[in-house]
Symmetry: C2
Amino acid sequence: MLKVVIIGSGNVAHHLITVFEQSNSVQLVQAYARNAASLSNLLPASKITTNFNTILPADVYIISVTDDAIAEVAALLPFTNQLVVHTSGSVGLQQLNAKNRRGVFYPLQTFSKNKAVDFKQIPLCLESELEADYAILETLAKAVSDNVYAINSKQRQSLHVAAVFVNNFVNDLYRIGYDICNENNVPFDILRPLIHETANKVQVLQPKEAQTGPAKRNDVRTMEKHLAFLTDEKKKIIYTLLSQSIQNNNE
Amino acid sequence: MLKVVIIGSGNVAHHLITVFEQSNSVQLVQAYARNAASLSNLLPASKITTNFNTILPADVYIISVTDDAIAEVAALLPFTNQLVVHTSGSVGLQQLNAKNRRGVFYPLQTFSKNKAVDFKQIPLCLESELEADYAILETLAKAVSDNVYAINSKQRQSLHVAAVFVNNFVNDLYRIGYDICNENNVPFDILRPLIHETANKVQVLQPKEAQTGPAKRNDVRTMEKHLAFLTDEKKKIIYTLLSQSIQNNNE
């Protein structure tokens, strides 16, 4: 059975600890946190350490801390030639200290601490320097997810950028929709099924096939009406730019 | 039992015909199409007419045609003082001919002809000139949907604009995510669970509460890395504009 140590206590660390604790084919031997209390709701005290020098032997050490702290934490580890991975979408494998065998174990999902996720559905993007280590990471990943991919650092960076568009920026458009509703005394609830269905459509279609609306139809009159309706200059600019983006991608 | 006639054969007409045919509390007496063949997979020939002069008596006549054709079709109806509604988000009630009692029956959803929808979940936005007619529309709407709202023309216009942001523009961001994946030999499948979860989050949270990412954290280094990664000028502009939009809405 693969033995794992998690280093970190953020959102991703929380979800990894939870899913490994539930797994029958992975043994979470320990988790490290600067502050033991931050993990006390997930693990017994015996499984938590706050001291790098007391980290137990394991097959994989998963560093799940903020991007800026990864290199520092990797350097502080008191052992060498072990398999050490991070969980970041935007940090290269090379940021890990070369004294250990390096890899990446990147779950591409948006995590909230208080919202349970079906981990089986989460894509895990794996990378390693050594081929033999990839096999270990793959065994670990497949124990908890049905979606496991070999993704190199360049590809992972592209995914991270793409995720900003389909997650962060999409959510800002939801926020604009919310604001427009709010300004007009319309409940945001009316938009929620549409938001849901829009995301559902591209689960089976390519986004281009799913595109509809005035920009797609080149319905200039409706677009002009909408621009006249929007009083906020920033919303007008976003409306114009994204309408052009849709039109530029029409066949 | 309320009697309904549908005038039109597009996506929305198809879905309305299907849901009214399935309802036990609404009687779809007839549908009008310019070309009977366009409805022949949904209705027996006896229920289809291609002639305005043979439209049967009903409690509600629903005009479900393209926005530009609504006024013309409403004028062609050979009767007066009946309840006539359209299904458009962007057309005022006043566009309907004043010889009949006017209203709106606007389902706010994105319809594809080949994809079944759970009509019960679809918000129906109702408006009428006469209070008594509102009661008729409400009875009709509640027979097929659990989400019925009184929405005046100004509010409906705001919803139509908001829907462009949360549906059309969101889908264009999905398309950009798809392109970035494609350019880097990464399967778009990796982003699909994230897209799904992003939409799920705002089913319970307000968009502002759900916002995450480098712009939200004011993580300038990551944003600079992303902009350096994006070679396409149009994607860079959208990245910059939407990052600013998120930052402007930070408390």
